[in-house]
């Protein structure tokens, strides 16, 4: 296998990782998943180009000076397997999320929800006791699902 590092390959790595990062910034888990796959492939290419290129490293067939570096190839194999496992897990999570909420969008975290709710009530944070009555406890309030929010025009 010959893998000469040249400008084209580095541009390819850059495009893969760049697109991956863009997708990673999305809210939808399936796009995040695609982003991770792209970044993973970009990184694998980067590792491959980190080693010397050459012919198949088999003793007796190729003389040592012309052999390719095998270590990056071994690392890439491991990295591919790991990325594959994580991709499968993320896919399962996004399916589960779709199953539970009808969407695979990652909702706001608790702090964000609290801030939004407080801002809507024009409330400032009160005393040390927590300040809010129990019914505004985020664990107790049903946050509308993404599809409901979209219907209400809040999303």
């Amino acid at each position: 296998m010959s893998a000469d590092a040249n400008l084209v390959s580095f541009v390819a790595i850059g495009v893969l990782v760049g697109c991956g990062v863009t997708l990673l910034l999305e809210r939808s888990l399936s796009r995040v998943l695609l982003g991770i796959i792209l970044i993973g492939n970009g990184v694998n290419l980067l590792i491959i180009f980190g080693g010397r290129s050459g012919r198949a490293p088999i003793a007796g067939v190729t003389e040592p000076e012309r052999m390719s570096d095998t270590l990056p190839q071994a690392m890439v194999l491991t990295a591919i397997v790991i990325t594959f496992g994580f991709t499968a897990f993320l896919l399962a999570i996004s399916y589960r999320s779709w199953y539970l909420t009808g969407d695979d969008e990652v909702p706001d975290d608790l702090e964000d929800q609290q801030i939004v709710r407080r801002a809507a009530r024009k409330e400032v944070s009160t005393a040390d006791l927590g300040g809010e009555p129990p019914e505004s406890d985020p664990e107790q309030v049903d946050v509308p699902a993404p599809w409901q929010r979209r219907e209400e025009g809040l999303g």
Partner: protein, 500 residues
């Protein structure tokens, strides 16, 4: 003795395979996991004694000599971390077995808990023993994959929400780590840490600095250092109590361990010292201010966890022997105490059905034992004199004073302020949850399982006993820190004939 080195990794992995086979028989499954972790603890203690007396124990997997093959190295730092982590994982395992009934639901594939937990342990121990950068990456992935399963256990709505953030952030951190590994190999042609230590000296300054910053970025996300810590308080609290406890105790500390290891071995000198100290100060301050604002016990402890990571980073940033001694001592203290606090929070949740400070009250009268357990560990965290938290903080602050200068003195002030604010947070929890008259009548549920309480008591006792054994412990941490600064014991143990 070297035959023992791979055992802390092999035993939990073997246990994971066995418990998976025994999925339908809970009792043998528990016996296997407990005996695996107990044996690991014994092996870890033996390794620590060996490393303290005779220096690092090195094993070359498959008998390939060092720069080519994979090496596992148990020096004093690694062995000390192994001892603490196996003690903590064993206690948490007992706790979760005791809590067993609470975790079994109709939709809960509980059989998966033991194998996953053991894989997590294997990942943690492998990270401590890893002698090359790629093996460190693989062990991070092992513990991450297991932690993904544990944090989304049962797949409830809340856990899926927090789990997705956790998974994405950590996968991204792994990618950054992997990029750094690739670049390190491209620049030096080796990944063996001891070999790298020799080869890095010949690299141009700019290349070395950028590799250092890449690695710091990757480990900083895992260790939850301030600008990279936002994911932690949002994802930890929703997991089951024992899972949160072991994550809080161990996973961030693996990141801290990786920072200590790489900064001392690969990048000696004070290049990143100032940067580390600045982020350490911000981590302490922002973390503890977050904790002050929280009204949920688990979230509050997640913020104190972030805050106290700052102390360890401060010790590393000082890059003196005294600073490293303080940092290592603090890691040991903090693994124990943060795990204990989350277990106590779990007990409170099991007893009252809530960890919301606005609902809790009068617990000191209902369950005095819980009060004692919380009080001792909270005072330990805040750094009240007889406890190990005080000793660790004192060591770090003294190291800061000894270095002198504007930044170390600022950090000393911030550290003191953080300690006081931690005390404020602890006393606020005490007042709200334990002392005031109950605002809601606490339903007396079934008594807490003896094993759960026993495991928590054992961990509290371990935390307190750190004070009792503080002398020998400081000996070990000093030995570890001197070795780290010196670098030659590690390099010589891995490459006896010198770097090729």
């Amino acid at each position: 003795m070297t035959a023992l080195v791979p055992l802390p990794v092999l035993l939990p992995l073997l246990g994971a395979a066995l418990t998976l086979l025994l999925a339908k028989w809970p009792v043998p499954q528990r016996v296997v996991s407990v005996s695996c972790l107990a044996t690991t603890l014994v092996v870890a203690v033996l390794l620590l004694v060996h490393a303290y007396r005779y220096g690092p124990a090195v094993v070359q997997i498959g008998a390939w000599p060092a720069p080519v093959g994979i090496v596992l190295v148990a020096d004093q730092l690694a062995a000390l971390m192994l001892v603490v982590s196996s003690a903590v994982t064993l206690c948490v395992l007992l706790y979760s077995i005791g809590q067993g009934q609470a975790e079994t639901g109709e939709s809960a594939p509980l059989a998966i808990f033991h194998p996953t937990y053991l894989v997590l342990t294997a990942g943690v121990t492998n990270a401590f023993l890893a002698g090359d950068l790629f093996n460190l990456f693989v062990s991070f992935e092992m513990l991450l994959a297991a932690s993904f399963v544990l944090i989304t256990l049962n797949g409830t709505r809340l856990r899926i929400r927090t789990g997705s953030t956790y998974v994405v952030v950590n996968v991204l951190a792994s990618m950054i780590f992997l990029i750094s590994v690739g670049l390190v190999y491209a620049a030096t042609g080796t990944l063996n840490l001891a070999h790298l230590a020799a080869r890095f000296d010949g690299l141009p300054e700019g290349v070395r600095l950028s590799l250092q910053l890449m690695l710091l970025l990757a480990f900083g996300i895992k260790a939850a250092v301030f600008p990279l810590s936002a994911w932690l308080p949002d994802s930890y609290p929703t997991a089951p109590a024992p899972v949160t406890a072991v994550f809080a105790g161990l996973l961030t500390k693996v990141g801290v361990y990786a920072i200590i290891r790489t900064q001392t071995l690969l990048f000696p000198g004070e290049q990143a010292g100032k940067l580390l100290m600045v982020v350490a100060g911000l981590t302490m301050l922002v973390g503890i201010l977050g904790a002050v604002a929280q009204s949920d016990l688990k979230r509050l402890f997640s913020f104190t966890l972030v805050s106290h990571i700052g102390y360890m980073i401060f010790g590393v940033g000082l890059s003196t022997v005294a600073g490293l001694v303080g940092a290592i001592f603090y890691v040991v203290h903090h693994i124990t105490i943060q795990t204990t606090l989350f277990l106590v929070a779990g007990l409170i949740e099991q007893r009252t059905g809530s960890t919301d400070l606005r609902r809790l009250g009068g617990l000191a009268r209902v369950t005095p034992l819980l009060g004692v357990l919380f009080f001792v560990s909270a005072m330990n965290l805040a750094g009240i004199p007889p406890f190990s938290g005080f000793l660790g903080k004192l060591g770090l602050l003294q190291a800061g004073v000894a270095v002198g200068g504007v930044l170390p003195w600022t950090l000393v002030a911030v550290g003191t302020l953080t300690s006081l604010l931690t005390l404020y947070v602890a006393s606020r929890v005490w007042n709200l949850a334990f002392w005031r008259t109950p605002c809601q009548t606490v339903e007396p549920t079934a008594p807490l399982p003896a094993l759960t309480v026993g495991a928590t008591v054992a961990l509290v006792a371990l935390g307190v006993s750190l004070t009792v054994v503080a002398g020998p412990l400081f000996d070990v941490t000093t030995g570890a820190a001197v070795d780290l600064r010196d670098r030659t014991p590690y390099i010589h143990a891995v490459l006896p004939d010198g770097p090729p």
